[in-house]
Symmetry: C2
Amino acid sequence: MANILPRSVQRLINELSRLPGIGPKSASRLTFYLLRGTDQTLALDLSEALVALKENTKFCSVCYNITESDPCEVCSNTERDETLLCVVEEPLDVVAIERSRAFTGRYHVLHGAISPVEGIGPDDLYIEPLIRRVEDGRFTEIIIATNATLEGDTTTRYLERRLAGSGARLTSLARGLSVGSDLEYTDEVTLSRALNGRQKL
Amino acid sequence: MANILPRSVQRLINELSRLPGIGPKSASRLTFYLLRGTDQTLALDLSEALVALKENTKFCSVCYNITESDPCEVCSNTERDETLLCVVEEPLDVVAIERSRAFTGRYHVLHGAISPVEGIGPDDLYIEPLIRRVEDGRFTEIIIATNATLEGDTTTRYLERRLAGSGARLTSLARGLSVGSDLEYTDEVTLSRALNGRQKL
């Protein structure tokens, strides 16, 4: 009576529980959804998509973004500004910046941020390829677009030092109020950054 | 610039979004987690578990629970009470009842509940096999353990009528306060059921 679940059901529950944000409860709900067959092809479609993900994707050898072709679409696009570089933590950050349509330069993906707490140091990130990539002075500006977190800020400070000799102007994203946000509900750190960064009308 | 995501990345995001409770945002977060390779084998482990789920599981031909062997472990266990039947909506309900260790009889899984709103009628559930299973009078009691929802209650009312001729005593689960719950925060319907079902100390 200890475990009434068939082995293959328990197995999928275990594998799904390894995903971030999915506990045993959600995992078993998802598994039974897949079993119910409301959506007959879903389990196998998912299975194939997972294999394809692993087989077809790699890191771009220039910018380390995830890509199916090397160099990636951004790196091989000659219409994009070759003198402007944006350094981000994760591939999803590239997606977010592209969606803003406010940037037309190149990217460099670090794949993480420096975090002494989690034991992630500069050597665990793609920082050395970044240094090599910028040392010939081809970029006039490098935007360090890390997250507005302790880890992101630590990474920015570190890169600031390491990239000082690149000849490029180093910048970071503006901090301030989110568009649509209420002053009343804005946390004090953001508000203080917004005040310090106030601009002439 | 419309879609910066590699095809196989977008594909997995799309497939994951088909799961209940997983929107495009969670789907892309999960996909990039799988890409990051913190857990190198996870994507392929998941893929294999999904295939195994589909290949190895079927419905038990007696109780319609999910099983790898037919008849299932409960139906083929001669130590369990053969005169007591518990009718539930979903396989997960069997898991929940087994966990309570308060039931040692047999199960019947309907695979849903009657829901006119969703267009689910008695013919969409495993009700006919239930009728055939009980008609020889082998069960002395049938516990109709549907969810405490409108659909569950509708299904119970329907089964009550259909099983009237089975010769078995028909019962349903007690309604009342959850163990550990505060009277103050208990909804009025539950409280009224708990009052009506009050028991002598």
